[in-house]
């Protein structure tokens, strides 16, 4: 009996996920943009509808108003993430939609207060009940609307002229344009479609929970994501089925394993499905090109650092910044710790070192190996918990703890690599998101080890910093110790990046197939990169635990993973100096912005957008980039021209492997960009 009830519960919440997932699928299918702001868009639509009802409009009119607002917002997202950012790297829309999500969420909270609001549901109370189970009119409506929306959109894409134009543009923009299709119009139409679906989702989500709050966007968005991925991110049928599959698994696991394992099972399921079918349950086979070694040949590069037409983008800085600059930066941090009399700023500097270390772990993965991780907070957490327990329970000396943290960090990195290795591009990045969520939930539920949400308090670093038998001022000691760990991590990074392994990683980043055919063992090499990245992230976690003295699962949520990723993008993705600069900017900025708390996330979001647009190679490349602009005022003609003009040529053989592919006009975009797009929406018309 309970099993039947839980199935019904699963289908009900699953339809909610499905309607959010549909929005993702449409945007991804048309613009190949992973729209992180989808959840926020749904929530904003719900708020607009609610506000209209408050103002006296009937629900149907409120819905229409919400549709208009949502379409306008969708166009705005298109304007920013697609139009404005243009040929930026694939990873740019990810970042820019994330920035938009911050802006939308805080905007909603500012306009309509952070309080939850009751959402009207005219169908409330209408349901069939039997035993402990019910299926309400609202549930039926949501399920029905999901299916009808899915079918309607599919039909529109298949039959209507505009729908076919949208598909044609998605497959081959150039050819479509030659056939008289205006790509701008079709994309606006597609985003309008996503906006309408977002508004429908907003109203239905509001009716389901009979309550809305401004911070529903992220949890809802993550589940919608998971649903879209499970179904196959290009398939409309997949979005609905994926939503329901996740909903049912959640309900069953909640009922029969325990409510605390609900999300663990959901994200675990996502990983398993990605492993078994990287393109999802209904994903097109053509999309395999985005995942796995074999399919890689279809695309000039499997790297997220390339743009949507496969051209390498200036994200990868070309002139190799010597490692000594990074060490110099560490020296500057240490010197600043010694000179600055304020313990407050010294502890901010300690945090800069910690996050720089964490970001460095990503530089190794993303900058060198082209793997994007949105789950590194969990790896940091493993290091932090290991250090905390060993310090408190065993009282080990620091040297031993560092070794233990290195060991556990490497294991955590390998664990993350396990599902991710077979994937690449967006799929790989989203799999790391799932791993990160699983890590967070594990910290929350492994009570005996982590004390769950109670957290571990009173962690203090083993006393090693005795100079002449006298203890150094604690804040200063911590600042210096964090900087030393950063230096140690730089050393590890250097050993990896400068050696043979570094060359192999960069070769894999550029072209898995080519790398594989030259005898590089792609899987093993990447696994090693993940392990080393895990070691560095673990060290960051260890210092985080020592510096904060208190850790709880709250400290290692997805927001931290996103922050680390933002740091390397802001600083510069291929250079360790970029990690340090990015960490410094993004640690100090919130401290300075704290006075304007209410608008902080909006300002933060705007700064992120501007960075992605104008400084794609990161702050560290600022000086050189200016010079190259002088040499080549025709920077507009594309990234290749820009790279060509400003390129000094690598002098050391190490960076040659990376540079050859990136060296401006010598790059032959051997493959028709259309091929990469192929199948993106073919399948959407299921």
């Amino acid at each position: 009996m309970q099993i039947l009830s839980q199935l019904v519960n699963g289908v009900a919440i699953g339809s909610v996920y499905a309607i959010v997932a549909l929005g993702f699928t449409i945007v991804f299918g048309v613009a190949k943009v992973v729209n992180f702001a989808q959840g926020s868009q749904v929530v904003m639509s719900a708020y607009v509808a609610w506000a209209a009802v408050q103002a006296g409009a009937p629900l149907w009119a409120a819905f229409l108003i919400s549709v208009v607002a949502s379409v306008l917002l969708a166009w705005f997202i298109d304007l920013i993430a697609v139009e404005w950012l243009g040929k930026a790297a694939e990873i740019a829309p990810l970042l820019s939609t994330m920035a938009l999500a911050y802006i939308i969420d805080q905007g909603v909270a500012l306009i309509w207060t952070p309080d939850p609001q009751p959402f009207p549901n005219p169908m409330a109370g209408e349901q069939v009940t039997f035993g402990g189970m019910y299926f309400s009119a609202t549930d039926a409506t949501i399920l029905g609307v999901s299916v009808v929306t899915m079918a309607g959109v599919a039909l529109f894409l298949r039959r209507a002229w505009l729908g076919r134009a949208i598909r044609a543009t998605a497959q081959d923009p150039v050819a479509a344009e030659q056939m008289g299709v205006n790509p701008r119009v079709t994309r606006l139409a597609a985003f309008a479609l996503a906006g309408i679906v977002g508004a429908v989702g907003g109203v239905l989500v509001g009716m389901y929970f009979q309550q809305i709050n401004p911070y529903l966007g992220l949890p809802l968005g993550l589940k919608g994501f998971a649903a879209a991925m499970v179904g196959g991110i290009t398939s409309l049928v997949g979005a609905v089925v994926g939503g329901i599959v996740i909903g049912v698994f959640e309900a069953l696991s909640s009922g029969f394993i325990g409510p605390e394992y609900r999300d663990l099972v959901a994200y675990g399921l996502l990983l398993v499905i990605l492993l078994a079918r990287p393109s999802g349950l209904f994903g097109s086979k053509a999309l395999r090109g985005l995942g796995g070694e074999r399919g890689a040949g279809a695309i000039p590069t499997t790297s997220l650092l390339a743009n949507s037409v496969g051209e390498p983008v200036m994200v990868a800085g070309l002139r190799k910044l010597k490692m000594r600059w990074s060490y110099a930066a560490v020296a500057v941090i240490m010197l600043a710790c010694l000179i600055i009399p304020s313990p407050y700023w010294v502890s901010v500097l300690a945090q800069v070192s910690i996050f720089a270390t964490g970001a460095l772990a990503l530089t190794l993965l993303t900058g060198q190996a082209g793997q994007v991780s949105i789950g590194h907070a969990a790896v940091m957490g493993v290091g932090a918990y290991a250090a905390a327990r060993l310090t408190l329970d065993q009282g080990w000396p620091l040297a031993l703890i560092v070794l233990a943290v290195i060991g556990s960090g490497a294991l955590a990195g390998l664990f993350m690599a396990l599902p991710v290795l077979r994937l690449s591009g967006h799929t790989g990045a989203l799999a790391t998101l799932a791993v990160g969520q699983i890590g967070y939930l594990a910290f929350l539920n492994a009570m005996p080890i982590t004390r769950g949400s109670l957290g571990i308090s009173g962690i203090s670093a083993p006393p090693i910093l005795l100079i002449g038998g006298q203890e150094v001022d604690a804040v200063l000691a911590m600042g210096l110790l964090c900087a030393v760990m950063l230096a140690l991590s730089l050393l590890i990074y250097q050993v990896i990046a400068r050696g043979r392994l570094g060359i192999q990683l960069r070769a894999i980043r550029e072209d898995r197939l080519a790398a594989s055919s030259t005898g590089i063992r792609v899987t093993w090499t990447l696994a090693l990169a993940y392990a080393v990245s895990g070691i560095i992230a673990g060290l960051a976690g260890m210092m985080f635990a020592y510096q904060q003295t208190f850790i709880s699962p709250d400290s290692f949520k997805v927001q931290l993973s996103l922050l680390l990723l933002t740091m390397i993008l802001v600083g510069g993705i291929t250079s360790p100096l970029g990690a340090i600069v990015g960490a410094a900017v993004l640690t100090i900025l919130p401290e300075v912005l704290r006075e304007i708390a209410d608008y902080r996330m909006i300002v933060y979001g705007v700064i992120m957008l501007v960075m992605v647009k104008y400084l794609p190679a990161g702050l560290v490349h600022l000086p050189r980039w200016r010079r190259s602009e002088r040499v080549a005022p025709a920077a507009e003609s594309g990234p290749s021209a820009r790279t060509g003009a400003g390129y000094d040529g690598p002098t050391d053989p190490d960076s040659l492997a990376a540079a050859v592919r990136l060296d401006g006009d010598d790059v032959i975009p051997a493959v028709d960009p259309a091929e990469e797009r192929q199948g993106v929406l073919v399948n959407a018309a299921h």
Partner: protein, 390 residues
């Protein structure tokens, strides 16, 4: 395009220079006050609460209560002639940010007391820094049992949740004679503690705990939990959670048509819960420390002034914030100092506080914990909270 890029670069430069200037100015203000801390005629407390993020509505309640008390206090001449001022900081609910704010306060010699944070995880990340610098901390809402053990000078603004959990167990098993009991608890430090105490107390009073189900904070859907609860057929259910999820839980439970005896947490109390839940929580009980219709003159004064100031009735967290302001004022009135010099005397004075607040008689038991306050039993009848005798 290239012009706008140059323009942007100039912008970045200005921004960088600006932040640097801001950073420096923060430092210089602080160092300049070093020499003349007592010359400042302000009694300054650092208040750090979640003012944005998903805990913002609770944080803002505490903030409003605090502001209301201090506004009146300042209008009446402040503390020994010193106006009280708060340096507000937003923790976003993040422990990391709370720790960083604590460093900022530690830096500021004008700060006498820290007030915050909201969740215990954020509080406990911040207080080690405050303790190290001799700054006392008053945590209006933090319920973590370990909090007051982290050092001297750590005080609570409200008794821990165990008071409420024990009373609820007694109410269900003894008063109502229910044998099979279940609890659904919010999966944070507050809920973990509530569940521990409640589960033990149910057994102690002779009841049987048939289910203990955690409610994940990221899950907004509770139908599976309702179904599971129902299948275990408890006679009574304790819902240990906050009002936002409480409303969804109540609606999804009511939809099944199953009506066990339900006791919610005291945190449900307030108009917002009634507004969100509609008629789905009819008959629910709630033990509260603050009840707006209580006869106590302190409560009546607070409710009247709060409603006049903010145009809505206060919730429990606002009352707790108001009482925290009261505690601060009561302790500080014996001290004739501000800034750094006032910290140690304030710790000693806080320990002696014994006041009648809006949330009951608040008296410290020596280590910063408060003596249990009595609870008023409320029941939701016809869409309103009404007092019931037990």
């Amino acid at each position: 395009m290239s012009i706008s890029r140059r323009g942007f670069l100039a912008g970045v430069g200005t921004l960088a220079a600006g932040s640097l200037a801001a950073a420096c100015s923060v430092r210089t203000t602080n160092t300049s006050t070093d020499g003349s801390a007592s010359g400042v005629d302000l009694f300054r407390a650092g208040v750090y609460l979640p003012l944005t993020g998903d805990l913002a509505s609770n944080g803002k309640d505490v903030q409003r209560g605090l502001d209301l008390y201090i506004k009146q206090l300042n209008a009446d001449g402040g503390i020994n002639g010193h106006q009280v001022e708060f340096t507000y900081r937003d923790t976003k609910g993040e422990p990391k940010t709370a720790a960083s704010i604590a460093q900022e306060y530690a830096q500021d010699d004008d700060i006498v007391l820290g007030i915050g944070a909201f969740t215990s995880t954020a509080t406990m990340a911040a207080v080690p820094v405050l303790v190290k610098n001799g700054i006392p901390n008053l945590a209006p809402t933090s319920s973590h049992p370990d909090y007051t053990t982290l050092g001297p000078g750590l005080f609570r603004g409200t008794p821990t949740v165990d008071v409420e959990s024990r009373l609820t167990a007694e109410f269900l098993v003894k008063t109502h004679g229910k044998k099979k009991i279940a609890i659904a608890w919010r999966q944070d430090d507050w809920g973990v503690f509530a569940n521990d105490v409640f589960s033990a107390a149910v057994e102690e009073f002779g009841g049987e705990l048939v289910a203990s189900l955690p409610i994940s904070l990221d899950t907004k859907d509770y139908r599976s939990i309702v179904t599971q609860l129902h299948s275990l057929e408890p006679e009574a259910v304790h819902f240990a959670g906050q009002y936002a999820e409480g409303a969804v839980f109540a609606q999804q439970l009511a939809a099944t048509g199953w009506t066990p005896l339900i006791v919610g947490s005291g945190a449900l109390y307030g108009d917002k819960f009634l507004e969100l839940v509609g008629d789905a929580a009819e008959g629910w009980y709630s033990p509260v420390s603050f009840f707006a219709d209580a006869v106590s003159p302190v409560v009546q004064k607070f409710v009247k002034e709060y409603t006049a100031e903010y145009g809505e009735a206060p919730r429990t967290f606002a009352a707790i914030g108001y009482d925290s302001g009261h505690i601060l004022a009561e302790a500080a009135k014996t001290i004739d100092a501000t800034g750094k010099e006032a910290r140690q005397p304030l710790i000693e004075a806080l320990a002696k506080v014994d006041i009648e607040g809006a949330t009951g008689q608040l008296r410290y038991t020596g280590n910063g914990d408060l003596a249990p306050t009595p609870r008023t039993w409320l029941q939701i009848r016809d869409g309103a909270f009404v007092e019931v005798g037990v």
